[in-house]
């Protein structure tokens, strides 16, 4: 019970983070809701093995990104889900009210990147250092820097 309370607290504190991940990796609002649920479910499943050896945010990023990649394989999976109207994923409505034109442009630019780049740019925008990005993604710190350089070029060419 105590563990459950602790978990709820963590999820509530990081709901925005999960929302941003789902926004980048989902194809539609419904898909985003499905992915959001799956991330929370996977976080819950791994919560018992989480031993505070890494920062909570690092653990959440890792599980969320892995779940998002696994979710790409499950486009056709449809099963029992919490009905949409009961979901926090009314949270996706945030996007409708908050997103101004610039935010939509931002998400569209990120969505056009490939899956390697999406993960790296997300962590960069979240203010992670190259070393932190490296530890979450498994790339070397130098490689993260090189890739960010390429992403920058790609974004500039997308705009032009």
């Amino acid at each position: 019970m105590q563990r459950e309370k602790e978990f709820i607290g963590i999820i509530k504190a990081n709901e925005g983070l999960i929302y941003k991940v789902t926004k980048i990796y989902s194809l539609s609002k419904e898909d985003g809701q499905d992915l959001y649920q799956e991330i929370v479910y996977q976080l819950w499943k791994s919560f018992s093995s989480f031993r505070n050896e890494s920062k909570i945010s690092t653990w959440i990023y890792r599980i969320s990104l892995n779940t998002s990649i696994a979710h790409l394989n499950k486009e056709k999976r449809k099963g029992n889900q919490v009905p949409i109207d009961q979901l926090p994923l009314n949270i996706t409505d945030i996007s409708d009210t908050v997103m101004d034109e610039r935010s939509e442009v931002l998400f569209n630019l990120i969505k056009k990147l490939n899956n390697i780049e999406k993960g790296i740019i997300l962590l960069y925008l979240e203010g992670k250092t190259h070393a932190e990005i490296a530890s979450i993604t498994g790339f070397t710190t130098t490689n993260v820097g090189t890739r960010l350089g390429r992403i920058k070029q790609k974004i500039i060419s997308q705009i032009n």
């Binding site: 509530k12 990649i69 099963g79 498994g138």
Partner: protein, 197 residues
């Protein structure tokens, strides 16, 4: 938009999202209880039904094997049974591949590698199943004609002509079907190549 500009905009957006938090305790609990194993079973049920149907057909062919009284019908019977045995196995292999990403222990790079390799293998299995399914239609028709109706399609109908004239259409159809597969495989291969940089 430069990366720094994107970062500033992202920060503004994050602040807005933080202000609009909506999760409640009960919603979090509901999400942790969402039974995703049901999702798996929803995929497995049609697969299991398909596998049972294949098994029933294999048994039917084997029980009546002596009725296949010509060399070509025997060959068709053996090929049919073999494909009927192989197709459910391939299907299960494809599903297992879909579920292969180790979400709890992988890092992002490892997940992307597993995803891309899985995608390539999945496409390969789909292509193979398409060809096997097509061959099955060709070989099972005369077998069932003989076993159920006692008719040798090769002697009593113009089955060969249908096969011969149908082949070019099948070839074009297969080419069209595989167009998207080629793109998917190429994308996955590019990701794998890029991951090795």
């Amino acid at each position: 938009m430069e990366l720094e500009e994107m970062k500033t905009l992202w920060e503004e957006l994050s602040i807005e999202i933080e202000k609009q938090k909506k999760l409640t305790d009960s919603l979090v609990i509901k999400m942790t209880r969402a039974d995703y194993r049901n999702k798996i079973s929803k995929i497995l049920i049609p697969e299991a039904i398909g596998a049972l149907a294949c098994l029933a057909e294999i048994i039917f062919i084997l029980i009546n094997f002596q009725k296949l009284n010509t060399a070509y019908l025997l060959v068709c019977g053996i090929i049919s049974a073999f494909i009927l045995f192989l197709m459910p196995l391939l299907s299960i292999k494809a599903i297992r591949k879909i579920r292969s990403i180790n979400i709890l222990n992988n890092n992002y790079k490892e997940s992307l590698q597993e995803y891309s390799k899985g995608k390539i293998q999945f496409v390969f299995i789909q292509k193979l199943s398409f060809y096997l399914g097509s061959i099955l239609i060709l070989v099972i028709l005369p077998v069932m004609g003989q076993l159920i109706g006692g008719i040798d399609f090769f002697k009593e109908t113009r089955l060969w002509i249908w096969y011969a004239t149908g082949f070019p259409f099948f070839y074009l159809f297969a080419k069209w079907v595989f167009k998207s597969y080629i793109k998917t495989t190429a994308e996955a291969e590019n990701i794998l190549k890029e991951l090795m940089d």
